[in-house]
């Protein structure tokens, strides 16, 4: 705890914390000090010199943003000397700015000219504030008005008007720049990108990219943070210029990755014109990535479905009315249930739709259809985590919060290209490193996070379990484990140690291809919580500019690099062992942090859209739980565990599943082995697809129901750190589309009505009838049936959301799990390592890794509707090592064929050293390059997670 000290500012004595700057202290006391280059998120800079104050006993004036407070300090912010100096500073700042309107006498009267008015000063149009897009929103204008500068004492050279329009998201106009360098610093300090810097000297100074290339050619990630922080109109969003400034905004949650950033959806009438991040959100703290900032064209895209569609016998689709569509669906599902039994129907829900909708979807499957055949795509990436962590610890989820990462002494990122897949989580990691956390990155490929890592390990794909075992062996041998934690909480140490015997570092090094020294260093760094100094990287001076002492705790962050393998469960268990061995659970800054890929993976699982669990991970075979559900729902619940996603497709092939209801999923692009998936879907008796556009999957459906996007409905999402956040309706549903919760409710109501015909008996169960009028009512039902959500209701979600478990309406939520110890003793899993099932051969010499990239999201239905994103990255690229490419005669940006035993796709080659030799990388986003056509049929035996991340392929030039 920092010491409290007393200082006096303008005669007002205040008590502040030691270590604050004068500026922060003054702001706290409500005293205004002018600033231009200051931003609370950035490190003290002292560039604009406007925040000068007089400090008693100091010679000259001090910049208040860089001067720390000292006990007994006496500060004056408004003496004649301060006033004079800062006026002069401001005059110098505007001397190379188009200043005519700024200092116009008319402005002194408090008037800014209305459009088309005659200029008294006869000034060039380009020098007028009036035509500036930031007029009345400009910080410089406000400062000039505040100080009242009304003359041009210094005349500098105006920078030429040279509009930089190379990217589709924002524009840069150097003549409006005041060189506050907020954009440069936010890009480096907050985003960790460093696309911009200040070049040259004197009046030539300018904000440029490296070697002054255009933005798309630079390392810019188009997050738009520089635009948000720019005080003037030097950087502006193009959407504001094209569509106008918004007149109101609605606070909601970003629909892309699992970070769950809060956004303000900005509207002009009912047109979405832009998005800004919510600054007070504890998740994103005013940051967004390119998708979350600019990828919203899909909402009001002309490709949205506006009417339910029915397949004619000829195969073409015909628009129909809702009544007919809903009745057709109910009739057909009921027919299949009647003819083949309830287990002949399956529901595939979605990690994109809200908690309420997932809850209704599983309720529809269980209460109406009478089957546990309900699953969603989280099965593909989250199942091993769910299985391993929930059986050991109780909850299969992130144990800590994203903000917690900043407290870690050491962060181990394994199997996650965090910058590309979870950009905002990556920001927390970068911020932590900036303040002294030490980072270990483990990934077969080079990633953008490597720049911040003290240790970068590139194991061969699929060997993570072996690598972790090697690290644990070092930890055991060097006595680096947490003995107290082990004896208090762990069982099975003997078997565990025995299992490590075959993983001595040299053998592990041989398996993984990682040098022995690196394995040892990683083990020491992780086990010591970043305190081990033997492997310090001294030349990396830029990555820890402000190290502060850290607590010796270590966090693990992992992603689909771990779970998309057939040996996924082994790897997740090894991660769990590593955390247990070093006692890194239940502490701030420690923990196991699996990152959820989609916005509501966590929520979809929480809501029981899983074949083995009821809502809140309550077991199907728990008699007490079943009784409660049966009493409240008023139906018998099926007892047989349902089929997982891969098993559903297997069931279709065997003919035991006849009808499928798919909500917001596109297995025709996201599942492995697409040819097999297509064959299955075509074989169905009845397929109903509910989505916002006509996806590849929807084209095969008998009935298509148009759902709505997140912007058109109320509800909640649960992000990767278990934070339940409120999604709010901003616009009316597009066309005749309906919110998904309404559609499922209607189906449920009609289905129940149909089953009940003849029985006049009135149901006495409170949640029996399907009569929800709003998602809030669904949340009430969820809370009363799900202990971990018991204290959550819409009235409590107006602020920053609540992290479950939240067991009563007074419970504040749980940012860190297991703070009071683990629920019970945990058995350490003996480590197993199974080599990749996929082996390269002479015929298929390359190992293909699939994954995501920053600009696109999952299957292409959202980001490919964004004109801007498509301008930057319109196609799927095959990343291949330049030497491999040369051997095959493939040049940069040439078309190639990628062929596996399963199939073939086309892609454009990108020569890059990011992937090691013999390995190629491709994203799975694009309909035009459906990479999952290549993937084989290997699954993790227990968790059924598919091996999406490895496939043997051959690469050929397209024109050879």
């Amino acid at each position: 705890m920092a010491e409290r000290i007393r200082i006096t500012i303008d005669g007002q004595t205040i008590e502040v914390e030691e270590g604050m700057t004068i500026l922060e202290a003054a702001r706290m006391a409500g005293i205004y000090i002018l600033t231009l280059c200051y931003d609370p998120r950035l490190e003290p800079y002292g560039g604009c010199r406007l925040c000068l104050v007089e400090v008693e006993g100091h010679r000259g004036l001090e910049t208040s943003c860089t001067t720390p407070v000292v006990d007994g300090m006496v500060v004056r912010t408004n003496t004649p000397q301060v006033q004079d100096t800062r006026r002069e500073v401001l005059e110098l700042i505007i001397s190379d700015h188009p200043y005519e309107c700024l200092i116009c006498p008319k402005a002194a009267e408090g008037n800014r000219c209305p459009p088309f008015s005659v200029c008294l000063k006869d000034t060039k149009v380009t020098d007028r504030c009036l035509v500036c897009s930031k007029n009345t929103r400009c910080e410089l204008q406000q400062l000039v008005d505040y100080i009242g500068v009304r003359q041009e004492r210094f005349v500098g050279a105006l920078r030429p008007i040279k509009l930089e329009r190379s990217n589709p998201f924002f524009e840069y106009e150097p003549s409006r720049c005041v060189l506050c360098t907020r954009c440069v610093r936010v890009c480096e300090e907050v985003r960790g990108v460093g696309a911009l810097d200040v070049a040259y000297r004197g009046f030539q100074r300018a904000i440029v990219t490296a070697y002054e290339v255009t933005m798309p050619e630079s390392n810019c990630e188009f997050c738009g943070q520089c635009v948000l922080i720019c005080p003037t109109a030097a950087l502006t969003k193009r959407s504001y210029k094209l569509l106008g400034w918004p007149d109101h905004s609605v606070r909601t949650v970003c629909p892309y990755c699992g970070c769950g950033c809060e956004i303000e959806l900005e509207l002009k009438g009912d047109r979405i014109v832009g998005v800004t991040p919510v600054e007070k959100s504890p998740v994103n703290e005013g940051c967004l990535c390119v998708k979350g900032h600019f990828g919203y064209d899909f909402i009001q895209s002309p490709e949205r479905l506006t009417k339910p569609l029915l397949r004619r016998p000829t195969g073409s689709m015909m628009p129909i009315e809702w009544d007919q569509a809903l009745d057709t669906v109910v009739e057909n599902l009921a027919r299949v249930v009647a003819e083949h039994g309830p287990d002949a129907v399956a529901v595939i829900s979605s990690a994109k739709i809200t908690n309420e909708e997932n809850y209704l979807a599983q309720k529809f499957a269980r209460a109406c259809l009478g089957t546990n055949n309900i699953d969603q795509c989280a099965q593909l990436c989250h199942a091993p985590t769910l299985l391993a962590l929930s059986s050991a610890l109780g909850y299969g989820t992130m144990t800590n919060s994203l903000a917690d990462l900043q407290e870690a002494g050491c962060i181990l990122v394994i199997g996650s290209n965090t910058t590309e897949t979870h950009p905002i989580a990556a920001l927390k990691i970068k911020a932590a490193v900036r303040h002294g956390s030490r980072l270990i990155v483990v990934n077969p490929r080079r990633t953008k996070l490597d720049r911040f890592a003290e240790l970068v390990l590139h194991p061969r794909p699929g060997t993570d379990a072996a690598l972790l075992a090697g690290m644990m062996r070092v930890i055991m041998e060097e006595d680096l484990y947490d003995g107290a934690f082990l004896s208090r909480w762990c069982l099975g140490l003997h078997d565990f140690v025995l299992s490590l015997q075959e993983f001595d570092v040299h053998r592990v090094s041989k398996i993984t291809g990682v040098p022995v020294a690196d394995i040892v260093a990683a083990a020491r760094l992780y086990a010591s919580g970043g305190q081990d100094e033997r492997h310090h990287l001294p030349e990396a001076e830029f990555i820890h500019p402000h190290p502060t002492p850290r607590k010796p705790v270590s966090a693990i962050v992992y992603g689909t690099g771990i779970t998309h393998h057939h040996g996924a469960l082994n790897a997740v268990q090894a991660i769990l062992d590593l955390a247990l061995l070093t006692g890194n659970l239940g502490k701030r800054g420690a923990g196991i942090n699996p990152l959820a890929g989609q916005n509501n993976v966590q929520g979809a699982c929480d809501m029981g859209a899983l074949p083995h669990f009821l809502p809140g991970y309550q077991r199907l075979d728990d008699e007490e739980v079943r009784t409660r559900f049966q009493r409240l729902w008023g139906v018998e619940l099926p007892t047989k565990p349902g089929r997982t996603l891969p098993e559903i497709f297997e069931g279709i092939r065997q003919g035991s599943i006849k009808a499928l209801y798919i909500i917001g999923a596109n297995p025709m692009l996201s599942e492995p082995d697409l040819a097999f998936v297509e064959e299955c879907l075509r074989a169905l008796d009845f397929l109903v697809v509910q989505d916002i556009t006509l996806t590849e999957t929807a084209r095969l459906a008998h009935v298509v129901l148009p759902g709505t996007s997140f912007a058109e409905k109320d509800g909640t999402f649960t992000n990767t750190e278990r934070r339940v956040q409120r999604v709010r309706q901003a616009i009316a549903p597009v066309g005749d589309s309906k919110p998904d919760w309404w559609i499922i409710t209607e189906l449920g109501r009609r289905f129940m009505a149909r089953q009940k015909t003849g029985e006049a008996e009135e149901t006495s169960s409170p949640f029996g009838p399907w009569n929800y009028s709003h998602p809030a009512a669904v949340m009430v039902e969820i809370a009363s049936l799900t202990p971990i959500y018991e204290g959550i209701g819409y009235e409590r979600l107006e602020g920053e959301g609540i992290q479950w478990p939240c067991t009563s309406s007074f419970h504040p939520g749980t940012p860190i799990l297991y703070r009071d110890g683990l629920p019970h003793k945990v058995r350490l899993w003996p480590v197993e390592y199974a080599p990749l099932e996929v082996q390269t051969s002479a015929e298929y010499p390359f190992l293909l890794i699939t994954g995501r990239e920053l600009l696109h999201y999952h299957t292409d239905k959202m980001t490919c509707r964004s004109l801007g994103i498509m301008e930057i990255r319109p196609e799927s690229l095959l990343e291949i090592h330049p030497e491999d490419a040369a051997a095959l005669g493939i040049g940069e940006r040439e078309l190639v064929r990628v062929i596996s035993p399963q199939g073939e796709v086309e892609a454009t080659a990108l020569l890059s050293e990011h992937s090691p030799r013999g390995t190629v990388f491709m994203t799975f986003h694009f309909e035009r390059s459906p990479v999952n056509r290549l993937i084989g049929h290997a699954f993790d035996a227990l968790s059924k997670s598919p091996e999406l991340k490895a496939c043997a392929v051959r690469v050929e030039a397209y024109y050879s």
């Binding site: 070049a199 490296a210 002054e212 030349e539």
Partner: protein, 160 residues
């Protein structure tokens, strides 16, 4: 360019490894690269940035700040004409005009045959012999138009 015909004296990796484990090595590395290659290319900036764990934009910003560091390839012979106050008084502008006429380029440019690059730099510290210039770090003082023409002719004939 022609400098690279016989190859740079040190590779980039060698230069970087010289400073391994040292803090504040960015400017010394840039000076060494300038020495060996005559300029700092975008690719080199990227590698240097990676070693220092900073961004290429930062490397470029530092390089563009100092006249001594170049981000574009230069001719075999680099002429640095002094624009310090003493040389200014002794009419360095006239010398500048002569060089520009002789070489057919203006300040900041390189001759089409890649033989000469002309730069104006702040004081090179030989004010006693103003006006003055440096060609490849060799100073020439008390310049007159004739003397300049002779010097340039010598370099044209292959003196380095």
């Amino acid at each position: 360019m022609a400098r690279q015909v016989d190859g740079p004296t040190l590779t980039l990796a060698e230069i970087i490894s010289r400073y391994q484990g040292q803090k504040g090595a960015l400017i010394p590395i840039l000076l060494d690269v300038e020495e060996a290659y005559g300029y700092i290319s975008a690719d080199m900036a990227e590698q240097i940035a990676w070693t220092m764990r900073t961004s290429p934009a930062h490397v470029y910003a530092v390089a563009s700040f100092y006249t001594r560091l170049r981000t574009q390839p230069r001719g075999t012979n680099l002429i640095r004409l002094c624009s310090g106050i003493a040389c200014e008084v002794e009419d360095v502008t006239q010398i500048q005009r002569v060089i520009e006429e002789e070489l057919g380029i203006s300040v900041g440019e390189t001759t089409p045959d890649d033989l000469f690059t002309l730069e104006m730099v702040p004081c090179i510290g030989v004010c006693g012999q103003s006006p003055a210039m440096e060609i490849n770090d060799v100073p020439y003082g008390n310049l007159t138009p004739d003397k300049v023409r002779q010097i340039l002719a010598r370099y044209r004939q292959g003196e380095t």
